[in-house]
């Protein structure tokens, strides 16, 4: 008894022993800190963290499948849209904790989500407004708790650039990543981040006019290309020789 049907297909990708079933809900075990991937009807995988089964003794930082289902229903009655909303909220919570100088933002974001999920049966009937605001309020409380518990001392980033050999690898990776961009994005990202001071401001204004978009839209577009490049470069560094093949 007590086996919880997953909302969609479920895959555990966690610290659980390898012998366990990949379909974790059939085992009714406690997956402390487990990270689940949930396959939505369109085949897309979504991750949910820190689930426990209903009959096990609840850990304060875990939620059950029922609690997760309730949370998703609250975010959106359509399960696919709820999954997207969940990811958006988690991403933004992580950013909030990063901005609050936390060095474990993902953990605190998951803790926030789990706390909201546990509190939901009490507040759902009376709560009015965007659920995201509730998450923000709980995140602020979680942050206060974290500060009281263990204030992490600031660790400055060394200013010196990395070793020459790493630099060469980095440039090579960046070159490859730039080549993967389409011509327009490549030109834009190089053009956007050149010049300094007033010349840069004037140049960006000119660039926005040239592309027929607003300055803010241009800024966001350049930032997204830069983020993509960073992700590509990290992947290149991690994969090393494999990436070059």
């Amino acid at each position: 008894m007590g086996c919880i049907p997953a909302p969609w297909g479920v895959e555990i990708m966690s610290r659980r022993p390898k012998s366990s079933s990949p379909l974790g809900f059939h085992e009714c075990g406690r997956y402390n800190g487990a990270q689940r991937k949930v396959a939505a009807p369109n085949g897309e995988l979504r991750r949910f963290r820190s689930l426990s089964s209903t009959h096990a003794k609840p850990d304060p930082d875990e939620i059950t499948q029922e609690q997760l289902n309730l949370l998703l229903d609250w975010l959106d009655p359509d399960r696919e849209k709820a999954g997207i909303r969940y990811e958006q909220i988690r991403k933004r919570l992580i950013k909030i904790f990063v901005c609050r100088a936390s060095n474990n933002p993902e953990e605190l974001a998951d803790k926030t989500i789990n706390r909201v999920a546990r509190k939901l049966p009490e507040i759902r009937a009376t709560y009015v407004g965007d659920p995201a605001h509730y998450f923000a309020g709980v995140a602020a409380n979680i942050m206060r708790e974290a500060i009281r518990k263990d204030r992490i001392p600031a660790i400055g980033m060394p200013d010196s650039p990395s070793a020459t050999e790493d630099r060469e690898k980095d440039y090579s990776c960046l070159e490859k990543c730039m080549e993967k961009l389409d011509t327009e994005d490549r030109s834009l990202v190089l053009d956007y981040y050149r010049l300094e001071g007033q010349a840069k401001i004037d140049h960006r204004r000119q660039l926005a006019e040239q592309l027929g978009i607003g300055l803010n839209a241009l800024r966001i577009r350049a930032c997204r290309i830069r983020s993509d490049l960073q992700a590509c470069m990290q992947k290149c560094r991690a994969e090393g020789a494999e990436f070059a093949k």
Binding site: H133, T183, N216, Q234, A244, K245
Partner: protein, 346 residues
């Protein structure tokens, strides 16, 4: 209890604090009116990132970040700007301290700084290609004329008269040229034999020029082949490959000799002509086995020569004979084999 902050619009935060039960912090009930920052307020956003806002304003920012569609992207862009200013040495002493002691605590930001430093150097080295602009809608002569006539009816009457004159003139010209054409055809027939002779001479001349060009091209390719194992920066070995060498050109094969200090081998594959929007290169070992997938690449101009540049870490190229299979990718995404470039690694 109701708290009012500098209000722009009302939003509803959590109805009650969870920490009352679990953490013991004061309970907050009721609907709060909370300042949602203007997204264009770059100074406030910068202060938020540097941890220089009051707790109230910080929480207001977080509500904005949670609820506005563009907010997340705005924060990311502001982070980039702040990092760029730090790297350009434009932060004040206080800001620099906040940058180190607050902004950089998260690993995510440290990675971002590291990437930005490399990207900045890269962008400064690279010449900027022109950004393609939105194409202006094509306007034909007739559309322009129509628009002018709609605005100024008098131009319409004048234009109509001009068009009639042009049609009339064209007809007269056609009749008279037909008569003239009969005479000129006779003359052309008489000259045909002479022209045929001249054409034959021109063909001979073109063939001779073509042979000369082929010879120059071969010299150019040989020159590329001679530039073997050129050290670019100590840890990068550059090798220029020749498009005319074959596997049997045993002793002439360009050879890369990586040292323990070599981190990258760069291959330059010169193109005899640049007829494709993109290219792909596959590495093939001495046994004819393809190593790794094809890499899609764009042609680059190196010292006025169009070429494809590929790089490999030396550990992926043990000593032996190799070749690159170069293919062109057409606009319809079809791949057409072009040629092979042979080389050796020692």
């Amino acid at each position: 209890m109701s708290r009012r902050r500098r209000g722009i619009r009302e939003i509803e935060p959590p109805g009650q604090s969870l920490l009352n039960e679990e953490g013991g912090l004061p309970e907050v009930k009721g609907v709060l009116t909370i300042m949602v920052p203007k997204t264009t307020d770059a100074k406030a956003l910068r202060k938020y990132l540097l941890g220089d806002l009051s707790t109230e304003d910080q929480e207001a920012f977080e509500l904005w970040l949670m609820s506005e569609d563009d907010a997340y992207d705005m924060v990311l862009a502001a982070e980039d700007d702040l990092i760029d200013e730090f790297l350009a040495g434009k932060l004040s002493v206080t800001e620099s301290q906040q940058f180190h002691n607050h902004f950089l605590i998260a690993l995510e930001r440290q990675r971002k700084l590291e990437f930005s430093r490399i990207f900045r150097e890269y962008a400064n080295r690279k010449p900027v290609p022109a950004v393609p602009t939105l194409p202006a809608p094509a306007r034909s002569f007739w559309k322009e004329l129509g628009a002018l006539c709609r605005l100024q009816p008098a131009y319409g009457a004048v234009s109509a008269a001009l068009i009639l004159l042009m049609i009339g003139g064209g007809y007269w010209s056609g009749v008279s040229s037909s008569a003239l054409r009969l005479d000129s055809t006779k003359a052309a027939l008489q000259q045909a034999e002479t022209q045929r002779h001249d054409l034959q001479l021109q063909i001979d001349e073109i063939q001779a020029t073509s042979k000369q060009l082929s010879s120059q091209l071969a010299q150019l390719d040989n020159a590329f082949g001679d530039l073997q194992s050129v050290a670019v920066s100590g840890s990068v070995v550059a090798l220029n490959l020749s498009p005319i060498l074959t596997r049997s050109s045993n002793d002439d094969l360009p050879t890369a000799q990586p040292t323990p200090a070599t981190h990258l081998i760069q291959f330059v594959l010169p193109l005899l002509d640049d007829n494709y929007p993109a290219y792909s290169v596959a590495l093939v070992d001495g046994e004819g086995k393809r190593r790794g997938p094809r890499q899609p690449l764009a042609a680059r101009t190196i010292q006025n020569v169009k070429a494809i540049v590929v790089t490999f870490p030396p550990e992926s190229l043990p000593a032996g004979d190799y070749s690159f299979e170069l293919s062109g990718i057409t606009n319809s995404d079809e791949t057409e084999a072009i040629r092979e470039y042979y080389f050796r690694v020692r």
